[in-house]
């Protein structure tokens, strides 16, 4: 199954224009950051909590986008890595008393290994067959988490309750606001790393493998290594997101991480825009808020409304919101 998304880079332009565009881009990001920092003081704690979830999802979507958008490997099971990240953080905090901020990189590392290990046998599988294998992973994960042998760590079906982190003294922030900023810091870090990765050699290798695997191999790209690594990195991102998300929700249970979560992540990536970094943010807003909007519109069949939203978005913007924005900008520039 090929994913024919438009590549991110535009055709080369004269040097001056390039620098001006980059400056505009940086200003745009700066404005966004300022807005993100001011927002939690303008809205109530409940909204701040929702925005924290949006931030966590955006990291997960960036990870999945790397794998599916940039590298062309479809995964219907990324909810499993979200679960592994969430449980890693929960177990470390609950059973080992580790402070919450230390659990995030460990969750990421565990998922990096898990993703890489899963990516290795998956190398042989293409398109649909990879989709099935990842689907299987997504479906099986809750059952694995409930298994007797892991029960003393995972708490079995009862799950694990996580203690909400306190905001540091003297900052005058509520717990929700502090968590928001903590998550925001991770978003900035992960997005920066991701942006660098995708811009550089590895990113180009990933895109090359997606579009022209044989040519890429002929040019000396180690396709197996890059593909497995991409799986690993993508899992790392999703694991970090899972850890952050679970700390915000303060609870993990096996059935929270069912196949619907994996499907929701795919929806987020496609709606946001494949092969785009900003798409992760659009997608995160969509998957967090549109179900609530649908619920407001129709109490009787809210998911039917959600489905109609999906259809509307796909008809109007088949390349996602980011793709649509790109088209708009190109039109305006002319």
């Amino acid at each position: 199954m090929e994913t024919t998304a438009a590549p991110l880079t535009m055709p080369a332009a004269p040097a001056g224009v390039d620098a001006a565009r980059r400056r505009r881009h940086l200003i745009g990001v700066a404005i966004l950051l300022v807005a993100a920092c001011v927002l939690p003081f303008l809205v109530g704690n409940y909204r701040v909590f929702q925005l924290t979830l949006v931030l966590a999802y955006s990291i997960a979507l960036l990870g999945l986008n790397m794998l599916t958008g940039y590298n062309g490997q479809i995964s219907l099971g990324h909810g499993a890595f979200y679960a592994i990240g969430a449980y890693t953080a929960a177990i470390l905090m609950d059973k080992f008393g580790m402070p919450y901020w230390m659990t995030i990189p460990i969750a990421g590392a565990v998922c990096l290994i898990a993703g890489f290990l899963f990516g290795l046998p998956a190398l042989r599988l293409e398109g649909l067959y990879l989709a099935l294998a990842t689907f299987a992973l997504g479906v099986a994960m809750p059952q694995i988490l409930k298994h007797k042998s892991l029960e003393q760590w995972t708490g079995g079906v009862q799950g694990i309750v996580i203690v909400k982190p306190e905001a540091p003294e003297g900052l005058g922030l509520s717990q929700d606001q502090w968590l928001y900023f903590f998550t925001l810091a991770w978003v900035v870090l992960m997005f920066f790393i991701g942006w660098n990765l995708l811009r550089g050699r590895i990113g180009r290798a990933m895109v090359a493998i997606r579009d022209q695997p044989v040519a890429a191999q002929a040019m000396g790209v180690n396709t197996s290594l890059v593909k497995s690594l991409t799986f690993g990195v993508s899992a790392l991102y999703t694991g970090v997101a899972g850890a952050l998300g679970s700390i915000a929700i303060q609870f993990v249970a096996p059935d929270s991480f069912n196949i619907f979560l994996s499907i929701t992540l795919v929806v987020g990536v496609v709606i946001g825009g494949l092969a785009s970094i900003s798409g992760a943010i659009y997608g995160a807003f969509f998957i967090q808020f549109i179900p609530n909007v649908a619920d407001q519109i129709s109490k009787a069949a809210p998911w039917a409304i959600y489905g109609i939203f999906l259809l509307a978005f796909m008809y109007a913007m088949p390349t996602g919101v980011a793709g649509f924005v790109r088209i708009l900008r190109a039109r305006l520039r002319r």
Binding site: K146, V157, G159, G245, I249, F251, A253, S256, D295, P302
Partner: protein, 412 residues
Amino acid sequence: MTIVPLRPLRWLAASAALAVASLSPNVFAQAAKYGPGASATEIKLGQTMPYSGPASAYGTIGKLHQAYFKMINDNGGINGRKVNLISLDDGYSPPKTVEQVRRLVEQDEVLALFQTLGTPPNSAIHKYVNGKKVPHLLLATGATKWGDPKNFPWTMGFNLSYQSEGEIYAKWLLKTKPDAKVAILYQNDDYGKDVLKGVKDGLGAAGAKMIVKEATYEVTDPTVDSQIIALQGSGADTFINITTPKFGAQAVRKAWDSGWKPLHIINNVSASVGSVLIPAGLDKSVGLVTVQYYKDPNDPQWKDDPAMLEWRAFMGRYYKEGDPKDASNLYAYITAQTMVQILKQCGNDLTRENVMKQAASLKNFKSALLLPGMSMNTSPTDFFPIQQAQLAKFTGQLWQGFGDVISTGAQP
């Protein structure tokens, strides 16, 4: 002469005394007290329900609540105040439950939560609501941990505790069939495991010898036929069926079709004649044993029961799209009656503290839809409203209660 006559002076003194008396706290106690979500005209309650997702069959409970409160409001409300129940979908997903409950508490500022459904969803918000001191009442789940006033003073369950149910079956087996070879099928989640724990605790040391085979299933499994075959193959002569309606029906039917005729104990959740036994086949359900604490709407023995007729009238008038064969609709009615009782007991003091206090002061509250002889009782140390049940056997037509009403006295 300017001497003031005595009588007017006495009147003056009397009215002064009255004025002073009116300042005393006694009179002020009649004035209303309102917490968040309550006013002179409205009482706001909140709940999350699985209107979508794997447990969506229970969504009818929330819909019945809406219909019930509409009926109450049409008849003047509670102490003159209309009840507004804000019911949100959580799809049986704990993260969504957390989000929705935070909205109900922080944005909608409800007076209390009522009948939030499901053990994982409620586990996710358990600490939060107690931290925020929001009454978390009459949870629609039977997990035993909801009756723990010492650690979670704001949470009170409703259902007969699942562990208590399991214990009842176990103790009955020990008494009537101590040499039984028991096979158990249970749903691989908190609900199934809770009943299982009750069974094992009830059997005690004898359990290791009596239980010959256990099998689980996931809600995503299409059928449980394979599990039934495996359980039958173990040679068990007693089968404890801990399932939800769809799988309960499949299990009953498959056991019969495979020629396996054990002593078949089925848990209360899957004992509804309309939702389970009719699809499975009434002839295949003869001899089933369960516990009950409320009347089954399909049971012919309650056909002319006044409480049942009242319920049917309500269904016909206010909840036409509800299924009168679905026992969940009867269960929901009883819970709504209980909530109304608690709110009535609050009188004009509608603060969260008082709501909790009244919830913990149910004295012999009888809903006429409970089985005869049963009533609800709570106290500051007893947060289990339902602690009675009666064993019943299915005759092919109706559930025939046998034995005494059992009191469980469950502990968390």
